[in-house]
Amino acid sequence: MYPARFEYHAPQSVDEALTVLERYGDEGKVLAGGQSLIPLMKLRFASPKALVDINRIEGLDSIEEDNGFLSIGALVRHKDCERSDALKGRFGVLGDAAPQISDPIVRNLGTVVGSLAHADPQGDWGSALLAAGAQLEVASSGGTRTIPLDELFQGPFMTSLEPNEIATAVQIPDPGARAGGTYLKLERRVGDYATVGVAVHLSFDNGTVGRVGIALTGVGPRNLRAESAEAALAGAELNDDTIKAAAELAAEAAQPRSDERGSADYKRSVVRVFTERGLRKAAESAQAA
């Protein structure tokens, strides 16, 4: 299978890449890891007139803490996240998600930021980063801006990124010293979409729950935040009763559909179990921090 013809650009800087993108408008597409874009182009679901390959731009491949944020650059591969000490402990929701993305060979090339820009409604990073309260750092020839993840996903494979913009990093706010999280994924085989995925990220503030993020994969038209469950936990003491109540609320927030991966009832039940399990694991690692 061959993609349709395209013009190919491999700029050496973000500025140069932005100049090229300006020229093509919505007919240009950014190539990072290519593990979603190239398959789409081979199937001719996508036929951009030009590809802007950002892989030769320096400085986009680091994970660093800066200015109250953990920043993951546009060329950081899933594999880098899998191996990063920075994504353990307080950012455990990300470190636990990384080895569950697709398969090990795809993880060698695919990028976190590219996954977000691709906006697959079944994507795992979408949930993990929604739960973590992340925002996308975006550059255009007019300057830079940030897009909260809640405002990024507009629908399946649709984002609020403009055609002349490049997502340069995803930024996760510092959750404080006592924080933890996890990503639980049920999949039928390596590389499959999640039957159900649940991301939990929480921080403690003087013994009670401070900020908590809970997001769901595979049980709706996009990555869903379980907002009612988050609200019920914020400021509360985390105990068996509040954990069970939050898990029920998360299950109610799910919008599962029956398909070959399982019935809607089954998936809702997994959301409840995973939310409960995820909260316990997140609390455990937060208290160990």
């Binding site: 190919y8 650009h9 190539l31 795809v106 090339l109």
Partner: protein, 167 residues
């Protein structure tokens, strides 16, 4: 960072990459996939095309030492980089430890997945010379053996690891 491939037209480039230790060059369409560059432009047909959808891993090669599915990389992306295919595994003294392991442990039946499996095993052992069985299974979990011969593939990698320890 290396320069991008030389532009020869709106949709064409001259790509030069080091393939199995030798500089190789070809004029290609920008849309040419790496697997077709290897098989058709360079005549290295040891790299197989299986599913063509990033699922099966039959087309796995090493790009700067890292396993990638060559049906999901563009040839132009390989400009200036090092590629290892199955043809590059054997050395002047014969089969590599991984190849010897597949030979000794009957790590193949039909042989279709074998080049990709051996390249992934080679990269694994370069990084982790003494992997556990679980680590081997994890490393090859992005590849499919249509004969379901996984037991012997794992044994073959273990055999190669043991050779490495002796050596």
């Amino acid at each position: 960072m290396t320069e991008a491939a030389v532009e020869t037209g709106a949709f064409t480039r001259t790509v030069t990459a080091t393939v199995n230790g030798t500089a190789r060059s070809a004029d290609v369409e920008t849309r040419l996939l790496l697997v077709h560059f290897l098989r058709e432009s360079l005549g290295l047909t040891g790299t197989h095309i299986g599913c063509d959808t990033t699922s099966c891993g039959a087309c796995t090669v090493l790009l700067d030492g890292t396993p990638v599915k060559s049906c999901t990389v563009l040839a132009v992306q390989a400009e200036g980089r090092e590629i290892t295919t199955v043809e590059g595994l054997a050395g002047p003294d014969g089969l590599s430890a991984v190849q010897q392991g597949f030979h000794e442990e009957h790590g193949l039946q039909c042989g279709f997945c074998t080049p990709g499996m051996m390249l992934t095993a080679t990269a694994l052992l370069a990084e982790n010379p003494d992997p556990s069985e679980e680590e081997i299974r994890w490393a090859i979990s992005g590849q499919i053996c249509r004969c379901t011969g996984y037991q012997n593939i794992v044994k073959a990698v273990q055999h190669a690891a043991a050779q490495g320890k002796e050596g």
